[in-house]
């Protein structure tokens, strides 16, 4: 029944009042104030996010800095410091970014195009993702105070996504800082436009951030790492607690409000602790054995295929996840389920085959005579050691001879750059937001994948801008991946974090924690 012209405005007014009242109630519910104590596993090497890919830097620094773009809940780029998505010229070679006006840095200075140009140029010379993008960039210049223009040498799909990814990110620094510290030199002044500002860094004690009162949130609702960011707490105190058992005890007693990177074995105990809510962090890493394809035994594709065919992945994952089925996932896609645009559902891939006959045949075809394969791992990350140890057992049952070399992390990351020192090493792969960012598919990362077909497809992916065509190319990459086996993909392992019940508003779907929009209800 259509509403009468008199009823309609009244109804509209009533609905409006209800919505406003609802917002007001929500505002009352979101208490302002308090100190949020977060326990993490250690000290960041720097807060210069251009400089390192270290996860801990990413987590902390993204509270201080923002880039032109961010990622929403579906891992899609959304504007952050840019007013909107860029205007792209018809030939696809010029990107014009309009900046939001009146955005302040923590030092009180207004952000302008000069800051953006200086920051992007520094990021492009140092960051892993920046370098990839800048290989295609011809020029970045300020058009006016609030407009920046980027010219690329050839059409590419990776401009906006590269500016949006949170790791080693294209954070905007004040021009004077971006120019003062050379790209290869760590910045030691940490001033951004983010919702928190740094007030104190006492190594091994705490990193103290406070609410940035001049922060101007976006109007769009919060989504993923972007949207509206409101800081409810007065202070965010990051406390490095290297011992995992201590972090668990501190969250149990309430000394910490939030604890990250917990031992998966603590899951049951935390579930039973009153006042504590364990959070399964998805995605975390997919486990991977990276083959040395530059020299040595694993240059043989047949041998790599044999490794892949031998693995029975589920028991390995279950064991690594402490026996908890909700802490791991069996998936063969190279992009996580959570990274919906790039998650593939291809059938019939030679993954988790558990096929001893095939393994033996491939070993014969590879001419393998039982030479020891140097498999390098570390106990500093328990999950790496666990899956290496279980793999060794399975592989030896199938006919391999594995020389498991357990070293510390610093040794592993040094040795993996030297092709003479290993055949396989363990690590984990995080979330790559664009197919061209999967480092293990290219020739510049340890393991040195240098496959003609993969290189060609990745080059086409970088140049193609149509999503459907890109996805089809990505599926081809996935099929070739499982044929050439540059690395052995195991399952997805999840992380464990925990919060006290009085910590409200935390977005549990994020891969890395963020504390804007979080409040304390004590």
């Amino acid at each position: 029944m259509p509403l009468s012209p008199i009823v309609r405005p009244v109804l509209f007014a009533l609905v409006s009042i209800a919505l406003v009242a609802g917002s007001a109630l929500e505002a009352v519910a979101q208490k302002r104030g308090g100190v949020l104590k977060v326990g993490n596993l250690g000290e960041p090497p720097t807060l210069d996010v251009h400089w390192t890919t270290a996860t801990i830097t990413e987590v902390l620094a993204n509270h201080l800095y923002e880039g032109l773009y961010s990622l929403d809940a579906k891992s899609q780029p959304i504007p952050m410091l840019a007013e909107s998505m860029p205007a792209v010229s018809k030939d696809g070679l010029t990107y014009t970014f309009k900046l939001r006006q009146g955005i302040k840095f923590h030092n009180g200075k207004e952000m302008t195009s000069a800051d953006v140009v200086a920051s992007l140029n520094r990021w492009g010379a140092q960051s892993t993702y920046g370098k990839t993008l800048y290989a295609r960039v011809a020029e970045v210049r300020a058009v006016d105070k609030y407009t920046v223009e980027m010219k690329v040498k050839e059409k590419t799909a990776i401009v906006v996504i590269s500016l949006a990814i949170p790791n080693n990110s294209a954070a905007i620094y004040p021009q004077e800082i971006a120019e003062k510290f050379k790209p290869a030199e760590k910045a030691t002044e940490w001033i951004g436009t983010g919702p928190f500002k740094l007030v104190e860094w006492k190594p091994d004690r705490h990193i103290k951030m406070v609410r940035f009162d001049d922060y101007q949130p976006r109007k769009e609702a919060a989504s993923g790492y972007g949207g509206r960011k409101i800081v409810h707490v007065n202070e965010l105190l990051w406390m490095p607690v290297p011992d995992a058992a201590t972090r668990v005890a501190q969250i149990e007693t309430g000394e910490l409000d939030f604890a990250d990177d917990l031992d998966l074995n603590a899951y049951e105990r935390l579930k039973k602790t009153a006042g504590v809510q364990p959070i399964v962090a998805k995605p975390y890493y997919w486990l991977v054995g990276v083959f040395n394809k530059k020299e040595g035994l694993m240059t043989s594709q047949k041998l790599r295929q044999a490794w892949q065919a031998a693995l029975d992945i589920e028991p390995i994952m279950k064991n690594v996840a402490g026996g908890h089925a909700d802490l791991y996932r069996m998936d063969s896609s190279l992009a996580f389920v959570e990274n919906a645009p790039w998650h593939t559902k291809l059938q019939g891939l030679p993954w988790n085959e558990r096929n001893k006959e095939k393994t033996k045949r491939l070993l014969r075809e590879a001419g393998y005579k039982g030479e020891p394969i140097r498999f390098m791992t570390t106990q500093e990350y328990k999950w790496m050691y666990d899956f290496a140890l279980l793999s060794k057992q399975q592989l030896e049952d199938a006919g391999f001879t594995i020389d498991l070399q357990v070293v510390d992390w610093a040794t592993l990351v040094k040795r993996r750059n030297n092709s003479k020192e290993y055949d396989v090493f363990t690590t984990g792969m995080g979330n790559f937001y664009d197919p061209t960012h999967h480092i293990y598919l290219g020739p510049n990362w340890p393991g040195w994948t240098n496959d003609e077909d993969l290189n060609r497809l990745l080059s086409e992916l970088a140049g193609e801008t149509d999503y459907k065509k890109r996805f089809a190319l990505w599926e081809q990459v996935t099929r070739i991946f499982y044929d050439r086996v540059p690395v052995a993909r195991y399952g997805d392992l999840f992380g464990l974090r925990a919060r006290r019940s009085h910590v409200k508003g935390f977005d549990t779907t994020l891969m890395r924690p963020r504390f804007h929009n979080v409040w304390l209800e004590k």
């Binding site: 390192t52 892993t128 011992d243 201590t246 000394e255 992390w409 990351v413 690590t427």
Partner: protein, 314 residues
């Protein structure tokens, strides 16, 4: 005495030089790369090489050693690769927690160790002796981390009496500092008290067998006077040596306690520095620890003269 002290102090210099040189080579010889750790898992070889050049790590080892000596002569221990601050500053920031922990641990160790050893020695073969020595044996055998974790579970998680971990400065909040330091000091002191107790016991037994003790007893002195006035002081010299060694151990060796209780001291600093291959920090901590060892030994030698008037230094 003054000449003796000066001679001992001067002797520190060559020893320190040898120590830092050995440590320099050891830390550089073990595999691992500070830059690869700092740059994170997704950094490629080119980025690592660029950063190595920036930090001077691409230079030959002998050149790095000469630079290290040159800086040392100027009193400069270098700059931490990871912490991005001078090593001297990093050391200074962590001295207070380590000294407080050392003092607390030592206090507990002496408080438990000396009386237990004296009583066990004085009443050799008694139930007191057996009970206390069994406890001392436990102290030696039980790993420090196990004891620490169980203390945390009982007193912090179950009973909620004390904080799990962390550190509060004695100068800013003495009550919080005491609450934070109680469990670490007890768990550290308990294991160290075992050694003190065993040494004190054997010294006491030896002294009590001396002729002058028999004479004192024959004179009709009360057993309490025999033990505390005559035997105790003479049994003290080796005990002071052990206390000195314990003190030195606690300066550089409270690593596990500092990590489990999350105390930002020198022990935790050196472990993280080794794991990150932060060479200047490792060298700095070793230098300070070595100096502390030698100075404590010197102080112990001087204390001997006060305890036993027969000891003279020229």
């Amino acid at each position: 005495m003054t000449t003796y002290l000066l001679r001992r102090l001067l002797a520190l210099l060559p020893v320190m030089l040898v120590v830092v040189t050995i440590v320099f080579f050891l830390i550089h010889l073990i595999p691992g790369d500070p830059v690869a750790v700092i740059l994170g898992p997704e950094a490629n070889a080119q980025q690592i090489e660029d950063a190595r050049r920036e930090l001077g790590l691409d230079r030959p080892l002998h050149e790095q050693l000469v630079r290290f000596y040159a800086r040392l002569l100027r009193g400069d221990l270098g700059r931490s690769y990871f912490l991005d601050r001078p090593v001297t500053q990093a050391l200074w920031e962590r001295t207070e927690p380590t000294l407080v922990l050392m003092a607390g641990g030592l206090f507990v160790a002496v408080l438990i160790g000396v009386p237990s050893g004296i009583v066990a020695g004085a009443y050799q073969g008694s139930w007191w002796d057996r009970g206390l020595m069994t406890l001392a044996l436990l102290g030696v055998c039980v790993p420090g981390f196990w004891l620490s974790l169980n203390f945390i579970y009982l007193f912090s998680v179950r009973l909620g009496w004390l904080p799990v971990a962390g550190y509060a400065s004695v100068f800013q909040d003495p009550v919080a500092a005491f609450r934070h330091m109680l469990l670490p000091a007890v768990s550290l002191g308990f294991s160290q008290s075992a050694l003190i107790a065993r040494i004190a016991r054997s010294c006491m037994i030896e002294v009590l067998r001396q002729d002058y003790i028999r004479t004192a007893r024959a004179k009709g002195l009360a057993e309490r006077s025999v033990i505390y006035l005559h035997a105790f002081r003479n049994a003290l010299v080796p005990v002071v040596t052990v206390i000195g060694i314990t003190m030195a151990i606690l300066i550089g060796g409270a690593v596990v306690t500092e990590i489990v209780f999350n105390i930002p001291g020198l022990g935790r600093l050196i472990i993280s520095a080794i794991l990150r291959r932060d060479y200047p920090v490792v060298q700095g901590v070793v230098l300070v620890t070595a100096a502390a060892y030698m100075l404590i030994n010197l102080v112990v030698d001087v204390v001997y003269a006060f305890i036993d008037p027969r000891i003279r230094y020229v």
